[in-house]
């Protein structure tokens, strides 16, 4: 619209100059119109073929850890970009050492990473920034808004690129000693000499035949070689299952609000436990009555030991919020059919209610080992067959 007004004005002035036979004036008007039109076309095409790319070294990490982000801006056309400003929406949870590098934003908990460039034809500029993970959660960087224009600075063109990256900051891990778990039996399982189940696909050796052995186990080739009946030994299936149940309720009554420090402590303890269990070769699962960020229901992660399992568990703990739909005890009852048989269960809670105690005693009938970790200031009651650990949480004043 602005260019049309200018061109119409130029046209009117040109006509006036032509009518008044002012050749110098008409020449100047023509030159100005030409410059204006060129500037407008340049500005309009300045952002075509301009690519903005963010490349993180680590997109996941623990608070206090460093990462770096490499920003590539590329001009994939013949037309140079005399000036380019990129405004990248940035979260406060992942910031450089010098936070003043980020410019203020109208959005809360957000800042802007502003960069200015000058790009020739087919040029790429790369800039790296060191960042630090600050606070647990799942965060987004982007979108990025790009502004560019003509060399004269008359026109400006803006474009938004929906380039968003998801970054995960895991909960901080605590020293395992602080959780007062017994060293020789941290999660309640012991090694057993009895092998209940075997994997018939995995033969790990042979031994002499015993009368009680099934004839299908006989290793005929070894028997023919040795002249004595030999049977196959199969690898026992052993599963060490650990299930952590996190209660995110932080106050005894909903109208008392949310104690965010207590929630953080609950999440840190849970993260420490799942990390330690995974590192000691448990198949680890997690359930919680808390909603994940941007989700409308509580979550449940089945026990597993895949290479991605630990990342899934810690990501869930990074995203857990204090919002719940039902009391924790009800959630435990409803989850009972889904809980794997024989799993060592550990409940981490900020409050111990009588309903919770009842629920745990019921669960004990189906589980091999149950542990209750309470962060309440008063010690939890003694429950038969359930190990209780008291880690009182006091708000620092």
């Amino acid at each position: 619209m602005r260019i049309k007004i200018w061109l119409v004005t130029m046209a009117v002035l040109f006509i006036i100059g032509g009518y008044a036979k002012l050749s110098l004036f008409t020449t100047m008007i023509t030159s100005s119109a030409f410059i204006l039109l060129s500037a407008w076309l340049w500005s309009r095409n300045s952002l075509k073929g301009v690519i903005y790319r963010r490349r993180w070294k680590y997109q996941r990490g623990f608070p206090g850890e460093d990462t770096s982000v490499r920003i590539d801006v590329e001009n994939r056309k013949l037309l140079p970009v005399p000036w380019l400003q990129t405004n990248d929406t940035w979260t406060l949870a992942i910031t450089p050492e010098n936070e003043e590098m980020l410019k203020p934003s109208h959005l809360s908990q957000q800042r802007m990473l502003v960069n200015r460039y000058h790009l020739r034809w087919f040029e790429r500029v790369t800039r790296s920034f060191e960042m630090r993970f600050r606070k647990r959660g799942i965060y987004e960087t982007g979108p990025v808004s790009m502004e560019a224009g003509d060399p004269f600075g008359i026109f400006k063109h803006t474009q938004e690129a929906e380039k968003r990256d998801i970054l995960t900051i895991f909960p901080e891990l605590l020293p395992i000693g602080d959780l007062h778990l017994p060293l020789n039996n941290s999660f309640g399982d012991r090694r057993s000499r009895r092998r209940l189940f075997e994997d018939s696909n995995l033969s790990i050796g042979i031994r002499d035949y015993h009368p009680e052995d099934d004839l299908r186990r006989v290793h005929w080739k070894a028997t023919a070689r040795s002249g004595k009946m030999q049977v196959k030994i199969f690898q026992p299936i052993s599963s060490r299952l650990f299930l952590l149940c996190l209660n995110v309720t932080t106050t005894s009554q909903p109208w008392l609000g949310i104690n965010s420090e207590l929630l953080e402590q609950l999440v840190k303890i849970s993260a420490t436990l799942v990390y330690h269990a995974y590192e000691t070769n448990y198949s680890v699962g997690l359930i919680s009555n808390g909603y994940l960020a941007r989700a409308d229901r509580p979550f449940r992660i089945a026990p597993g030991r895949s290479p991605q399992q630990l990342a899934h568990l810690l990501q869930a703990l990074a995203a857990v919020t204090p919002y719940t739909s039902a009391p924790f005890e009800n959630y435990l009852y409803n989850s009972l059919p889904h809980l794997p048989y024989g799993a060592a269960l550990t409940v981490v809670t900020g409050f111990v209610t009588s309903q919770l105690c009842e629920a745990l005693l019921r669960l004990k009938r189906y589980r091999s080992h149950t542990t209750l970790i309470s962060l309440e200031t008063t010690p939890p009651p003694e429950l038969v067959g359930i190990r209780t650990i008291h880690l009182p949480f006091e708000l620092a004043l």
């Binding site: 993180w56 070294k57 680590y58 997109q59 996941r60 990490g61 995960t168 696909n201 995995l202 033969s203 895949s306 290479p307 991605q308 630990l310 990342a311 810690l314």
Partner: protein, 311 residues
């Protein structure tokens, strides 16, 4: 000559497989290097069709083995059975005795059955009942793995993974390609009309010609530096082996030949490095936890190792 052959084969396979020229060129690279390929992709992306089309185009025999947990080694290599009529043992060759073998979902079979392929892949022979039988030439194993379903699978051991020359991901087609697939397969199956465009003898001849592609000493050193850099990275628990260095060297020659050159460029090494190295590296648990992938690490290594320049 290799370029012409590659073009003939690519055009022929493209009559069945829409697009994916890069994938076909990488398979041809493996053919020229007498190597084996691991294709890691989700179901329905055309792995079997691609393998069949390639086998027909090469004028080669093709067999498909569906790996399951109860598959025995003799189901792969073949076994001797007693013929009552002749009163003698007869050898019944297994599906591995073909020019191109598609080992579908190789990670579903037990390690014992997987290892029956080891001798075939490395020595190009199989030994049953003490008798060694040579496999036909050209010989290539195309093994597939589903990267999504890990329940009930037996991950390939590192020793076997290292024997695959390349790892390829086919990927989903673009929207235009997917539309073209529906149109192409609307009336009939183009695989049925596909004909051979070369012979086994020509392939063997091209494999010899591939070895003559010139590799400058500085570029040979560049290959070694890239491979050694994978062993020095703190984020990589197990780096690439000398076998990987040889694989990168040979595949770069083949890649250059397919592009029509009798010499290699640094760009050829950069193009082949991800396919050659990605399945041979084991990244550390801490790096994996922080979201690093093997592809990113290889890209970082390639960007850090200085490229030799002409003086």
């Amino acid at each position: 000559m290799i370029k012409n052959l590659a073009k003939r084969i690519t055009d022929n396979v493209n009559r069945v497989i829409i697009g994916k020229e890069d994938v076909i060129h990488r398979l041809l690279t493996a053919v020229l290097c007498e190597g084996h390929v691991l294709i890691e992709d989700v179901p329905g992306t055309g792995k079997t069709t691609l393998a069949r089309a390639l086998a027909i185009s090469l004028g080669s025999s093709f067999q498909r083995i569906q790996f399951t947990p109860d598959l025995l080694p003799t189901d792969v290599t073949g076994l001797s059975w007693f013929n009552q009529k002749t009163q003698d043992f007869e050898f019944r060759p297994g599906p591995v005795m073909s020019n191109i073998v598609l080992a579908d979902e190789i990670n579903r079979a037990t390690p014992r059955t997987q290892s029956s392929l080891l001798e075939a892949m490395q020595e190009r022979q199989v030994t049953t009942d003490g008798i060694t039988r040579l496999l036909p030439r050209p010989f290539m194993i195309l093994a597939t793995q589903n990267p999504v379903e890990l329940e009930g699978t037996f991950p390939l051991p590192e020793a076997q993974l290292d024997r695959f020359l390349l790892r390829i991901i086919i990927g989903y087609p673009t929207q235009e390609e997917e539309n073209a697939i529906l149109e192409r397969f609307r009336l009939d199956d183009p695989l049925l009309d596909l004909q051979a465009v070369t012979t086994a003898e020509e392939i063997i001849d091209m494999q010899q010609k591939r070895r003559k592609v010139h590799v400058e000493e500085t570029l040979r050193d560049y290959v070694v530096r890239i491979v050694r850099a994978t062993r020095q990275s703190p984020e990589i628990e197990l780096g690439a082996s000398p076998r990987a260095a040889l694989a990168l060297f040979q595949t770069t020659q083949a890649w250059a030949a397919i592009q029509g050159r009798d010499y290699i460029l640094p760009d050829d090494i950069k193009a082949m490095a991800p396919s050659v190295l990605s399945h041979r590296l084991i990244i550390s648990a801490q790096a994996q936890l922080r979201g690093r992938t093997v592809q990113e690490m290889i890209e970082d290594i390639i960007s850090v190792v200085p490229v030799p320049v002409e003086k």
